[in-house]
Each structure stands twice: as C-alpha cells, then as structure tokens.
Point group: C2
Chain length 366, copies 2
C-alpha cells in the first residue's frame, strides 16, 4: 500500500482522504493543530517550517504533497536531499510561492498575462500607473491568498508599506467579462489531463461560486485556456493538480491571473461533477499513477462556498430542502468569513442546477 | 458535530468514512483488529460480543450503527438500556440475525417468499423434500453469509450435522430467471427512499457483479420489488440501509431471498452511480437527517467485485487501462477468495459500461 504524506491539515488535505480510501492509499497528514480540518488522517502535529519536523513526518512516505504552498524552499530542498519524493517539487513550487518569479517565468514561456512590472519604489509605481490609466493592482510577491496581499492602487504611495519590505508585483487592472479557471493535472512521467474550463465568481477577492463548464465562453477561449494550462504544467514541471486562474478580458484575451499547484477551490465541483475528482487525480499524479478521465457526470455543475460556520441543524435543513445537493463540511469551528464548506449540485439545466445549489447554500446563512 | 460509532471495521465501515467526511460527521469505528479495513477511523479495537467493551466505545456517540449484523442481542439491549441510540435497533436487527424469525415475520407482513419451513429433524426435512421435488435449500438460522451456512440438499439426512445444533430453515429451490436486489433506506421518523432495482450476479454463492438498473426486468417486477422493500423497511422498523435480495422466478414471481440491514454489496454501485451513495444515506438515516436523492448519475452502472488481493501495481495497471473506472480498494491483506475491492463504471451504453468494468477488474487477476 503506497503512503502519501500531506503537509498541512486544511480542507484540501481533508478532501484527499476519501480519494485515498477508495484507491487503497495510506494518507498521513502533518497538521498545524490537533483540531485541523484533516485531523482524521493526521499522524503528526507540528510546524511545517521546521525541517526536522517535516523530515521526521516524511519518513516512510512514498511521496510528499501539500495542502498549501507555504512550505519554505529550504525545507523542501532538505527533503529532496534526503531522497524524499516531493511532489510538486521545489523547482515547480517556487512559481506558486513567488508571484514575481511566476510572472517572469510565464513571460519566458510566452503565456498571455496582464501587463506587469517588478516595482521597488514609489517612483517606479508612479511610472506604471502613468502608463496604465492611473490605476493598477499591487501584490506582495509572497504569502497572499483569498484577497490578502492584493490591493488596487491609484496613488504612487499606495504601496509604501509593502515596498518597505522589498519589491512588489504591479499588474494592469484588467477589464474582464468574467473570471475563469482551468484545472489540469500532470504526472511526473508527463501525462497531462484537463477538466472543462470553469467560470469562477469572486466576492471580496474570495471564490464564491463556480460554474462548470463556463457558460457560453466560446471555443477560442476554451482552446486558449487549455493551451495555457498545458504549457504551464509542462513548462514548470508541475506534478499533481494545477489550477490556473484566468481573466476573460473584455477584449477577448484570456490572461493568467494566479497559479496554484494543488487541488483548488475552482475544482471542488469535480468531487460530484466529474468522473475523477481533483483530489483523486492529485493522489494519482503524485504517485505517478495513470490519470483518470475528467469527463463531466452531467451537463452542468454549480459549486457554492459556505462561509462562517456549518451547524449540524443547518446541514440537516439544507439536506432536507434540496435532496440532490451534495454538502461538504470542512469540520472547522465557526469563524466569520472563513470557508466552512461547500455545496455542489449537478444536472442538465443550468438555471435549475444553480437554483438548487443556491437554495441549499442559503440554508446555511444567518 | 454529530458522532456516529460503527461496530465492526470491515469494508462497509471503511466506505462510510468518505461520506462522514463530506457531511462533517465524526465517525468512530470499533474494529476487530488493528489492521482492519476501516483502521483509519478506528478509535477502539475490541470484541463486539463484550457488552462492557461496546458500552465504553458507545460513550459520546450520537448513534451506533454496524458494519455487520453479528452483535449479540444482549449487547444491543444493554446499549439501549443505557440510552444509546442503536440504529437499526435490536428489534429490527433480530430479523437480519435469525433467518427463521425473518421468514415468520415476513410471512405475517404478507411479503412474497419461497415456500419455507422450520425443520427440526430429518423426518421433517424428508417431508419438505417430498413436497418440493426432492431438493431444497437448507440454511442455518444464524451466522451464515456469502454462501456459508447454506446448502442444497436432496437427502433427508443432508442436514443432520446442523440439526444436531437446533432447528434449520428449509426453503423451496426457486427456479429463477435472475437475482435482483432492492436497496432502500429508512430514517426513524419514517421517510423511505429506494434506489433503482438492480440485478446481481452470484458466483459460488458470492456476489460477483451488479448491474444497475436491472436490465429489461419489467415494470411489474420493479413495482413488486419496491413494494416489498417498503413493506419490509416499515414493517420491521428498519433504520438505515436495507438490502432485500430477491429471486425473479421463472414464473415471474418476485420473492425475498435474504435481508441485510446495513450497506450491502448490491449497493456499492451507488458510490459512483447515484446522487446519494448507500453509505451517505445510511449515515443520514441513522442520524435521522433527511434522506438524499437516489437518482442515477448515468443510464447504467456496473459494479464488479475483485477477490483475493489488490496489489498497487495492479491498481495502477487497471487505472491506466480504463481511465473511467472507479477502483475501490478495501485495504486488506491478500487472502484467496476474500473481497479485496470493487470496480464501478457508469455510462450510457450497457455493453460498453460492462466491457470497461470487466476489463478493469480483469487487470487484478493472476
């Protein structure tokens, strides 16, 4: 029985567990705390920034993978030096950890992106703003997620606090029709599989809803997204799931917004909506097993995130109101704004599917 | 977070774990041994025949349910006496534990069955044989499964060994077109949901293959099976999944063969083929939560059991050969003839679905 170790005990690790059970894979989790979302599979609690802790955890694992991208490069490289199969490896993860390096590397690969610049001073920011209509997005290169470390700026001094810590990434404020995500998986021996292109709806910088496939997006955008994900997966040597968040610009361009090298919120629909879920595919990929079919199980899947808390009584109410809704609770304590779970509904009529998903999710509010 | 305790650590308990993870239910397993199939969720290892062990395990659980039906009545009743929610309860489980009591009770409910008799001597067996063409099925009332405790007899002394221990059940040898199974679930407040009627193919008294829905079985048989399962679920006060194994007799009758009050091999297809799997439904039912939709995700599902062992290399080979096959490994050590896992394929063309399922399963042989 192969053993996969997952660093990080969040909901992504949690949702790998059912896939591991099905495939007969032993899954072990290095959690941050005893009450982590993935606590059922936690075999260790410790600091993922400590090489000794992570090395001890990795002993006996056939592959090490991740719930998040925050494990420091020096820890990753210490694992590799000890012969641990780190998947994705540090050379790939680097581009998911540092947005400036990612932009540079994608540029070298010829991948379409928003205009961007590395900015080290207010003067350089002023120059970028002057060239881009006076407004731009500023991002810290590291540590941002779910809207954190991202800011819209219209003043040359609007990023002074971040610039005090070093260079930032500045990007064109893309006028977009919609946001898209292209989910892919790659195994070390090279096979790449793509799921259908999806539309993501963000609220407050956080994914709120995903519609699979992206409605009426057009063949050209679908082809562009598939090409981008394939080039990125192969070009960066990704192992496992790769999520490419995209802008579908008002002028029709498909541009890379962000990358994630792990199962991603934009792919949660695949648990209930695809022959192979992103979590199963990720495990297959990190073990270099053949990848599964990514066909849809229905014409449409709609996934809605639930924030804050998921009390039992509300789960029962949602299940009673929508018997076809698939509820996924993350086993977390209540906290305002935190992703507590999600709901997916699949079916043949998009309006009906979206109605049922939203109706079920609305039972969790208030 | 509700807590469900499962007595028994076999593959049925194992396959409840993914459903529990999705619904945010804490699942605890009382396993027979440390290396049980459901070891990931095992919080105790002990003897389910010992009331003190089971009572200790049940502490803090909102409901207790089962991987098998072998927990003695006195243990079940001790749990109930202590206020534990035992689901299904001892009054229902009795009929899954004792085939003679089951036949008597189903007779009182007017459910169609093969001719049967309670037989206490070779003389009584001789009389039954004389009335039924000289051949009959003899079953021990308790402890049989997967063909054990079942014997075809054509001699009045063919069950002397079993009769030395007490009465046996004797049944008409039904000439059948096919075997069927009707899966249902019932929650304590009364809601009953049925999955589509399925055809089961047995080899050597063990389920080998399940086709959902049963092909070309006809409306009358479908209605009869649904009626039987509903009457049995309500009449016996079942909580959780009920599997009714049926003969579709050559003369068109639909007759009850066996009952199981837990998720059942004939329902494994529902993990990949139904909106709500039998494992999720069972957990919802034992918590008295609303039941889920049982609609099929595709026109056809074919489930094939894999026996003996499921080496990693063979799993990878099967996945590579059939990217749409859903493989379920039970995490057991190799043993000839033991159910080691199963494969399910779903799709719109039965011949194609069955071909792919058998092709994937065949990779595990030899």
């Amino acid at each position: 029985m192969p053993v996969v170790g997952v660093i990080g005990g969040g909901q992504l690790a949690r949702m790998m567990v059912p896939a591991a059970i099905a495939l007969g894979i032993e899954i072990r989790v290095l959690a941050e705390a005893p009450d982590s979302s993935a606590r059922l599979a936690a075999t260790a609690v410790g600091d993922y920034r400590d090489a000794a802790t992570v090395l001890e955890f990795a002993r006996g694992c056939d592959a090490i993978t991740f719930d998040h991208e925050h494990v420091p490069q020096e820890v990753l490289r210490a694992l590799v030096a000890e012969g641990v199969a780190v998947r994705p490896g540090p050379d790939a993860l680097l581009y998911a950890q540092d947005k400036l390096l990612m932009r540079e590397r994608l540029g070298a690969l010829g991948v379409p992106m928003p205009d961007w610049a590395r900015v080290e001073s207010a003067d350089e920011l002023a120059a970028f703003l002057a060239d881009h209509g006076g407004r731009a997005i500023v991002k810290t290169p590291r540590g941002g997620y779910d809207g954190k470390g991202v800011r819209i700026v219209d003043d040359a001094h609007g990023a002074d606090d971040w610039l005090a810590d070093g260079a930032v990434l500045v990007e064109e404020l893309v006028v977009f029709q919609r946001e898209l995500a292209q989910l892919a998986a790659r195994r070390p021996s090279g096979e790449v599989r793509l799921w259908p292109l999806v539309e993501t709806v963000q609220r407050g910088g956080v994914c709120a809803e995903v519609i699979a496939p992206a409605p009426a997006v057009g063949d050209a955008a679908e082809r562009a997204a598939a090409e981008i994900a394939t080039v990125v997966a192969n070009g960066l040597g990704v192992t496992g799931v790769l999520a490419v968040e995209l802008f579908h610009a008002a002028d029709g361009r498909v541009l890379v917004n962000e990358l994630a090298m792990r199962p991603h919120n934009s792919g949660h629909f695949s648990i209930d909506g695809s022959v192979t879920s992103q979590f199963e595919q990720h495990l297959r990929a990190v073990l270099d097993w053949p990848l599964g079919a990514t066909d849809a199980l229905a014409d449409w899947s709609v996934m809605i995130n639930v924030f804050g808390s998921l009390p039992d009584a509300q789960i029962a109410a949602a299940l009673g109101h929508q018997p076809s809704a698939k509820v996924h609770a993350y086993g977390k304590g209540p906290r305002a704004g935190r992703k507590a779970g999600h709901v997916t509904v699949i079916g043949s009529d998009l309006d009906d599917v979206a109605y049922r998903a939203r109706a079920a999710a609305s039972r969790f509010e208030g």
